[in-house]
Symmetry: C2
Subunit: 421 residues, 2 copies
């Protein structure tokens, strides 16, 4: 067979993806490899019985069988009502801007991000993200020809509203501001930093955007919000802060990251009709509605209280795993080697800074040594839009049991000692 030559589009001609995807594939295929990289949740607590029970309840509760038929493009109204009630249970979340009509069920929250970038950004446009930010979002932007830029941070690593205002003002002077189309924030136990944005910082960011000549759309991605350890983070979302009331905004969430990732059902709450209508238009071309069965299962699970009870049960589980990870890092003497981190209040991810001489990037000595020790981490540099530091890494508690986390950290520490001592 000849291999035909194809005239690819601009998107088809884009450079190959980062090697991060290969990391996950390697983790799944190499025997004995321990993955502190994969952003998976913990298989041992996946709610298989609860999902089967919900499927069984649907047999009698929805005898018209319509849950196995196509649904509507925006998704099941009962599910939207249920998840909004859940969202309103968080501190400071007001009921305003949270009616089912403002909400769209998506194929994972990822789809809400993807389509929003499609309707807001042309190739060459700019999107500001936190530093660091969710690397799949960075890849998504680049795949669509959009340029990510980093919101400046304080010395403590939090978004710095004053420095951001300055940067935007400089861009206004050079005319570059016209190409900025979107701000992307992860307010809660973020990927990869594990940290949350304080209410005062979030409000200050809103003020920066309000003072611009043209209001900039904002996405807040709350993917890890439900996975807090002790108590929910105190800051309300952009849906409830008055500083964001006049900005185009989308709050993205997921019903399945904290519950069962294999169901892949996300949502977008977006009070502005114009943005929502455009998102729905493109969604109609991509799938005309998220898998109806999965929506029905989740609506049932939320309505029956199973979702709430499940979250209550997994929070201490993930809290214990995070403690085990931090304890292991300490008992292996990594702080003495200059490894530093903030204890997260939730989520699955620990963000570690190493000394400057300690290069964690893909292909460098430490990374290679970790591969031969059979342990995987995410090199932190891939999580930056620009000016990526070489000395940070992301560790995940989701995938491995506590014993595996400890052994993974022992391997990390062996690699660190071999390369840097």
């Amino acid at each position: 067979m000849k291999t035909p030559t194809i005239a690819w589009s601009r998107m088809g001609s884009a450079p190959p993806p980062s090697v991060i995807a290969n990391l996950m594939t390697a983790a799944l295929r190499t025997p004995g490899m321990l993955s502190l990289a994969a952003g998976f949740t913990d298989n041992t607590v996946l709610p298989t019985e609860a999902v089967t029970a919900a499927a069984t309840r649907l047999l009698s509760q929805e005898p018209d069988r319509a849950y196995l038929q196509y649904g509507t493009n925006p998704g099941r109204e009962g599910l939207r009502a249920g998840l909004l009630a859940h969202l309103r249970s968080y501190p400071g979340e007001c009921a305003a801007n949270m009616v089912p009509d403002d909400c769209v069920i998506t194929n994972g929250s990822q789809q809400a991000l993807y389509i929003s970038v499609q309707v807001l950004c042309d190739p060459g446009d700019i999107v500001f993200v936190e530093s660091p930010s969710y690397f799949v979002f960075l890849e998504l932007l680049r795949g669509l020809g959009v340029e990510p830029r980093g919101i400046p941070t304080t010395a403590e690593g939090e978004a710095d509203p004053a420095a951001f205002a300055e940067r935007l003002d400089e861009m206004r002077k050079t005319g570059e501001l016209a190409r900025v189309k979107l701000i992307y924030l992860m307010g809660y136990h973020a990927n990869p930093s594990g940290s949350s944005i304080r209410e005062e910082t979030k409000r200050a960011l809103g003020n920066v955007l309000n003072r611009l000549p043209r209001p900039l759309p904002v996405i807040e991605d709350g993917a890890y919000r439900d996975l807090y350890f002790e108590s929910p983070h105190a800051a309300p979302s952009i849906l409830s802060l008055r500083e964001f009331a006049d900005l185009p905004r989308l709050y993205a969430g997921t019903l399945t990251k904290p519950f069962a990732t294999g169901l892949k059902v996300g949502y977008a709450v977006m009070p502005q009709t114009a943005w929502r209508e455009r998102l729905l238009r493109i969604k109609a071309h991509q799938d005309f509605g998220t898998a109806h069965f999965n929506q029905a299962i989740l609506e049932n699970i939320v309505a029956e209280g199973t979702f709430h009870a499940f979250l209550q049960s997994v929070r201490p589980h993930y809290a214990a795993k995070m403690r085990a990870l931090e304890d292991a890092l300490r008992s292996e003497g990594l702080p003495e080697m200059g490894w530093q981190w903030e204890s997260p209040g939730g989520g699955l991810l620990l963000w570690v800074r190493t000394p400057e001489k300690f290069d964690t990037r893909m292909g460098r000595a430490f990374h290679q040594k970790c591969l031969s020790e059979k342990v995987l981490y995410v090199p932190g540099d891939v999580c930056f839009a620009e000016n990526a530091p070489a000395n940070c890494l992301r560790l995940s508690t989701g995938n491995l049991p506590i014993k595996g986390i400890r052994e993974g950290v022992r391997r990390l520490a062996r690699a660190a000692r071999a390369v840097f001592v």
Copy 2:
């Protein structure tokens, strides 16, 4: 709240969608409305028990619970192997070019179409489709800024390879051929025509493409192939015809259109590595893998023989519904009013041509009358890339019971008599 002004992208600025989506919404909301429009399958035969049984089997067959975890981007290998075995059971399908590595599981077959257009076409490019063709594909193209054109047809309404070759040659002379990036065919019981492409015609189309200066990628969409009435259509797919061996090609199919649309799992068989890799790259940005639970359910259902047995049972059901539709059209005297159609060998759709004076388009007298009679059809003109005739319509047997089909046709006939007699 101020309504903020947003600087939309080119995609965000695209004109609003056709009103077809509203038809479906109207069908779902208007009491007493009978829909001969919606491309739904029949709720009464949806396999709710079979799906719950599969979910129950997974509890014991996959005790590691991983089916509720993220899967891989290309999808479950066991599902790919199972569906390829199913595909190979069709007449003339050879095993070559059908190994699991050539196959990608997608979020409905729609996602395979969408991403393929993204990687092959830039705004302003041209895609050739049959006349008529699947209207959601036409909308998808326009949404991405791509221009659909119609493959010329014979007097019998089949694709005309000789006329197509001529048209492409004219485009070569004007330089327009360089903008043609893809050919889209529906080989089996097509939407909306209900007809299949004969083997000899398909081979001739392959020859036309082979003679071009640059090989053109081809998609064959087999969405309705499994829903044959008596026996499978005789023509092999583009995967097994030597005329397509040197062309970039993708065969798109679905495991859920013929089984349970609410599960939304499609697939693409694409022997060329370069196209497949690019599709996977973009898929990683859109969802990084189709819902794993749904894949596991379907893998189980295919492996246990449930899929095969279900298809055996629904084929006579849909055949009977099609007979009922045709009988009703005849007994209401519509052939005497000049309505003409070919009996399809499978699928859910009947394509009807009316006399030239008989305008079926949206908003015209007949369509308005049908709305007041509370019956919906799809005006045929929306299914054409160009030169759309005003006198055709698509009727679907999927949604209504036989009694409803008969009543729907009575209403259509009343409207026809009121407007045209």
